[in-house]
């Protein structure tokens, strides 16, 4: 290769891009929360829609009747899930990074979500969608009708 290639950078590398940070408490142990997120039968049960999950690192998943797809990047049983994650409306090849950290608490588990790199127009839907599609149904599934836990901590930006 010659050294004449042109590199054009059109966005500052110092920008964080889009992100959502949420923390949710569950009255269930980290292993139960982890299993609910990684076991396709449990995921389908709490989400109310079909789910296929290859629960190996690098394995593909398809959730909510194929609306959410991606691959597992890192799995640490009962502690951490990192996924390359996309939803159907996004352009081909667009993925984001989702990280669930499961921290044991006195009452059960604090799930810390960090989601980054999604299209800017999706900030509002991602912010509300996590609670509506994932965490509220997951809480109902795990706590079997128990009341909500501590008030969630949230943030979002672009």
């Amino acid at each position: 290769m010659t050294s004449t290639e042109t590199i054009t950078i059109t966005s500052p590398a110092t920008s964080s891009g889009t992100w959502v940070h949420q923390e949710h408490d569950f009255k269930a142990s980290p292993d139960r929360v982890y299993e609910a997120l990684m076991d396709q039968r449990q995921f389908a049960a709490f989400s109310g829609a079909s789910a296929e999950i290859d629960r190996t690192p690098g394995g593909a998943f398809s959730l909510i009747r194929g609306r959410v797809t991606g691959r597992n990047v890192e799995l640490v049983a009962n502690k951490r899930i990192v996924q390359a994650w996309r939803v159907v409306p996004w352009a081909e090849g667009i993925y984001s990074i989702v990280r669930f950290e499961l921290l044991p608490t006195h009452a059960g588990t604090r799930l810390v979500l960090d989601h980054s790199g999604f299209p800017p127009e999706d900030v509002d839907s991602r912010h509300g969608g996590w609670r509506r599609v994932y965490f509220d149904p997951l809480r109902a599934h795990l706590e079997a009708g128990a009341g909500p836990s501590a008030t969630p901590t949230e943030g979002a930006g672009r």
Binding site: M1, T2, E5, T6, I7, T8, I9, T10, S11, A13, T14, S15, S16, G17, W19, T56, P57, G58, G59, G70, R71, V73, E74, V76, R80, V82, A84, E92, G93, I94, Y95, S96, I97, R99, E101, D114, S116, G117
Partner: protein, 118 residues
């Protein structure tokens, strides 16, 4: 942090794709040592991808393929060896023929700056 960059590489899109694609086992990410990559093509790609990541080019990168479309697109997660555990960036490289070479459009998202603060 996010980055959008474009560069022209002196090889056909399929060769660029094959150079980028991780050919390791699917159940584990491969660790790419920069000195093991084609010193011309791979080195240039890494140079673009790592730009502004505050890391020297000689660092090891753990790569996992997310989506491969031969000759068209490579999506991978990248992780620099000394990042905090669980921290990744996502790199999408879109390949288009440009004369005898390839125009590579690289979009990198993450990691969030807070994860690199330590």
């Amino acid at each position: 942090m996010q980055l959008h960059a474009e560069t022209i590489l002196p090889a056909a899109p399929r060769r660029v794709h094959d150079e980028l694609a991780d050919r390791g086992p699917t159940d584990s990410a491969s660790v790419v040592v920069t000195t093991d990559i084609d010193p011309i093509l791979g080195g240039a790609i890494l140079g673009v991808a790592q730009r502004d990541m505050l890391e020297p080019l000689g660092g090891d990168i753990e790569v996992r393929d997310i989506e491969l479309v031969p000759g068209e697109r490579v999506v991978q997660t990248w992780r620099i060896s000394d990042w905090e555990s669980g921290v990744y960036s996502l790199v999408r490289m879109t390949l288009m023929r440009d004369g005898e070479g390839t125009r590579m459009i690289l979009d990198r998202v993450g990691p969030l700056k807070k994860f690199l603060a330590a």
